[in-house]
Point group: C2
Chain length 344, copies 2
């Protein structure tokens, strides 16, 4: 591809040695070359349409100048902003981002990780839940630099960047309490995501302390479809509750869809709260009350940490917890007097 014009071709045209071309074209050693020669080489390079071969360079320098980013689901709108944050930080520093979308499938996750490792990424930003729990310690032992974004992973000593889930849940519970809700449901995500666990536990605890009864139901994936299914089930059981808090906005969206299909009004019949403030959450019908998580900042911070780890050669176990805030929109209102949901 891109025709085989190599550094040797440029050298010949410029009438110098290949090594000189290399020096003339790279910022650092450029000082060692006479300005005159630099100009000549650059002219020759442009004339030939020379494009340096990054793989050959990497092989020689053993620096790939790439970082791998693994995410569980690109179609979940919380990730594009995170990725943007990562790229905005890394690109100006010369790093290319290799994105691996595992589509939530463990098999793909392993394949993707292998592919990244074979490409000798200089570091990893891991935003997947990682089904293979043995993987992370293994990577760490091999000396692979990495940062965990958004999703923690037990006791592996990699840096971790997340939103402050616990305090987000606290804000939600406070809101629900003030609105008079005393019986709520928490739609939890799959337990192998650390955020799902954290949010569930925080919710249960905070509700208990506030004197709110909190029933927990679990969705099998963090998608609107699963949120909808879970809510369908719930409504068919004719339980009494006045608000639903979902582990993320996608699940909450599914709840909204289910409500609509059951001809229940949100928020009058049922308040709904999500988590993340994903793009378009404001545009749902009704706009979703949720916790704003600084998605792009999580990306930026992860990238910064990884960058520093690569530079320093150290892999300190930092925990960065970014502040979150409550965003109240149309999906919440005071609890109805005659507590409880009536499915049709």
């Amino acid at each position: 591809m891109t025709k085989a014009v190599t550094i040797a071709d440029v050298a010949k045209l410029a009438g110098v040695h290949a090594a000189t071309v290399s020096r003339a074209l790279n910022p650092a050693p450029q000082a060692q070359v006479s300005p005159e020669t630099v100009r000549r080489v650059q002219k020759a390079a442009k004339a030939l349409g020379y494009v340096p071969n990054a793989m050959a360079r990497s092989l020689r320098t053993s620096l790939s100048m790439t970082v791998g980013v693994t995410i569980p689901d690109l179609t979940n709108p919380i990730f594009p902003p995170m990725i943007r944050g990562i790229e905005n930080f890394l690109a100006p520093r010369g790093y290319t981002t290799l994105l691996a979308d595992t589509d939530g499938r463990p098999a793909l996750e392993k394949a993707a990780m292998t592919s990244l490792l074979e490409r000798r990424v200089d570091g990893l930003i891991i935003a997947t839940g990682l089904h293979d729990h043995a993987l992370l310690p293994k990577l760490f032992d091999q000396g692979v630099r990495a940062v965990l974004a958004n999703r923690g992973a037990g006791k592996v000593p990699y840096p971790l960047v997340t939103g402050d889930d616990r305090s987000g849940i606290l804000m939600i519970v406070e809101l629900l309490y003030k609105l008079g809700h005393r019986s709520v449901v928490h739609v939890a995500g799959p337990d192998n995501f650390s955020t799902s666990r954290t949010r569930r536990e925080a919710m249960v605890q905070a509700c208990a302390e506030a004197g709110i009864s909190c029933k927990v139901v679990s969705a099998s994936a963090l998608t609107a479809e699963d949120g909808e299914k879970v809510m369908d089930d719930l409504l068919s059981q004719r339980q009494n509750f006045t608000a639903v808090q979902a582990s993320n906005d996608l699940l909450a969206l599914g709840v909204l869809r289910s409500l609509r299909r059951h001809r229940l009004r949100c928020p009058e019949d049922m308040s709904v709260v999500g988590f993340n403030d994903m793009p378009f959450a404001q545009d749902f019908s009704p706009g979703l009350t949720t916790i704003r998580v600084p998605l792009e900042d999580i990306g930026t911070e992860s990238a910064r940490l990884l960058f520093e780890s690569i530079q320093s050669g150290k892999n300190d176990s930092v925990l960065v917890r970014l502040p979150v805030s409550l965003v109240v929109r149309g999906s919440t209102c005071p609890a109805p007097k005659n507590k409880g949901a009536q499915a049709t």
Copy 2:
């Protein structure tokens, strides 16, 4: 990274030559090696945690087994499905996808393209508008394999995969006509996107033929924010029209937001139609009437075409136009009797 265990280490442990290791570990030449040796090599490789160096391999084979994908804006939800389509096709065939989000910035676009070329991608799927119009012919002349996805680019002889914009617009105009709309506005996207131009032209023509008056206004970017701005302007002019058709769903979303802020009801006071059926379009308030474009299929088809081009070595100029369909939701209704919008 990943410790320096090379093919030579494996060779030593297995008591064979490096070349034999290479043969034993690669599917194709594996047949040339005795089963016994294969086993021994594999054992040694696993014991050492050997990870082949893809860059060294690529350097030798001059096949990077990567394809570059350039998109203008990852946060536009139409792209993740396209990317998924691409990866679903390419990954099983051994190709890794290098994603380059140009964020709509021409400078980034150039940098991203350079980075991809330096990494010697085996091919390119280009979904950006490409500000540098000289770039594409240049790439073509250099023999770079590429496929254009969704966004055409004049007369460059690369294959192109898109939705059938023209017939989509026709369906919309037919719907609006039936609903009694006789005065509409088309919110066009930036003119350097081929889809923007196609849709605008089709809209103007179809309206003319249907006897509908169509005013065109232009947004400076394909974002909800710009759609909102444009609609604000429009409403401040107190023009008479009963429906808005936007070049894509993001612009339409902006229109919905503007309407809401101006306390105009959609669809009663104003019908709104988008284009693309992006994820979550059904969840807007109200659900958006739009044209469903097979986003994932566009990705799959682009990938297939690129793959075939890489395999065959040829770069035929195909045009694949995927069928689209009308999705009617809550944002459209019969035109009000007293034609026209009244901004407050």
